[in-house]
Symmetry: C2
Amino acid sequence: MGGDFGVAVVVRAAAKYLEFNRDTSLILVGDQQEIAVEFNKINVKPCERLKIHHTSQQVEMNESPSSALRTKKDSSMRVAVNLVKEGIAHACVSAGNTGALVATARYVLKTLSGIDRPAIISTIPSIHGHTYMLDLGANVGCTSEHLLQFAVMGSVLASAIDEIENPKVGLLNIGEEEIKGNEQVKQANEMLRQSGLNYIGYVEGDDVYCGDVNVVVCDGFAGNVSLKASEGVARTISHYIKQEFDRNLLTRLSGLLALPVLKSFSQRIDPRCYNGASLLGLRGVVIKSHGSADAYSFQHAIDIARVEAVKQVPQQIDTRIVEYLEHSSAL
Amino acid sequence: MGGDFGVAVVVRAAAKYLEFNRDTSLILVGDQQEIAVEFNKINVKPCERLKIHHTSQQVEMNESPSSALRTKKDSSMRVAVNLVKEGIAHACVSAGNTGALVATARYVLKTLSGIDRPAIISTIPSIHGHTYMLDLGANVGCTSEHLLQFAVMGSVLASAIDEIENPKVGLLNIGEEEIKGNEQVKQANEMLRQSGLNYIGYVEGDDVYCGDVNVVVCDGFAGNVSLKASEGVARTISHYIKQEFDRNLLTRLSGLLALPVLKSFSQRIDPRCYNGASLLGLRGVVIKSHGSADAYSFQHAIDIARVEAVKQVPQQIDTRIVEYLEHSSAL
């Protein structure tokens, strides 16, 4: 059981989540003793809705995906994914090593027919709500076919979770003019126009935040860079605001008066409320929590897992990808 | 003479800039009559330090680079770059079509020996100052050699402008672990380790903003996406702050009291203070101003042009790239 803050966070998140979600059961996969110690600390006992599944190994945060696959067959990560494969769990949530999780999930669960690679998707806060963006780092290089598959998967997820009938899909590029972009992006643009999806064309990095598009499709390198850059900007701006209010007695006083406003603002951009990225394209629900998640944000990741399992997102993608493949071969 | 707001912005910026920079002369390249009309509006007359150079054509904002090159030989953009080539001007500033400017500058001025392609570089505000980032969109696909050349150019610029002796150079990747990233990035990482530059290894999208690195190197797709995403986040956050302070009478009052703080904060993240991206790697100084620049931010772009010309940045890159090529062939 991973993440930067280990078992304590997951145990606290699980106990809290079950308090408010009576229809959910959780299996904590990891070192039995470690988990039991944390249970004791918060006065919780294992029960029908909160079980422990003991494993003897752990995938390290800097371990290579191939090493994890080869040598960590009794790791919490591998066993948790196995439980999904075996139908014992409806979904798996992990705060562990992203590369190893993608490789393990892909190896154990397999991708859906018509999907070459799983992609990482998450919501990004925008002016009018949020935007789904994928891939956020599972695939550094992508063909136009991959980008098309991502578009179908993202569209299904936005439709299932947010109940949008025909989500607007945009393709990330570095200019709205047709002349820009690399070959994969240009080809994907043509394929998306024919796809029957509600494709609105190229979007740029800032369009992710304007709220006029529901799903933004890109390769994992661009997606990850964009996500991390955005986190960096948000942190820098928060730092600036604190510094400005801390300048002298007068500014500190005005900061005190503005405190409720600043707090409410902080909550709106709180990355913990956006924790939980989905690995789409697999025959099962797998959610990646941020490694530095606290108990509050880990609960958010559990909730995404529950919703995707209830909405049967993998089955929906399976149905839709077959439709799109038939549609495109009929053209 | 381009930009979204046309001649008026450039004329006002030029007149204002000359007021405060007595060592500088400017040549305004464009439609003589249009420029004269704007001169009249602000009561300025052409003089030794502020000349007009008439041209009959203009490159459109959505025109393809090849069309601009072929059919717009008397455009303000082409003629302005020609003036640099002929030694009549020390630098060129344009708010026009980026693709056309890169192609024109490359065709007319040529790249320095040892540089395959020009790159777009700009400063990005960070917690402790700013970070130089390149390429921001001139090259959608880059080899490891290109990335190495960008690193040398960025290092020279940071060193020349900010007078940092040995700028810290980072390579943008999607994880700090050696296992991640695409082939070009991995190869560039090896080459940079041998380069003699002050190379600190991989950095991620958020490291651009932490201020622990002076120059971040990446391909133009990732760089442009990262830049645009950052602009989007900053705008979204400003929007949120305004909304929160506007919620009710009490929050509006606290906003009023916090006004000086918020104003000082806005100035710190004002993109106008960062306007002006340099096209590096050419045999001359060419600066791209944002298309939506106002007169204040256009002055900033002019100032970058002046500083790069004074510091002889192209000549410095030429010297350093020869050193690095010799160094790497000696290894």
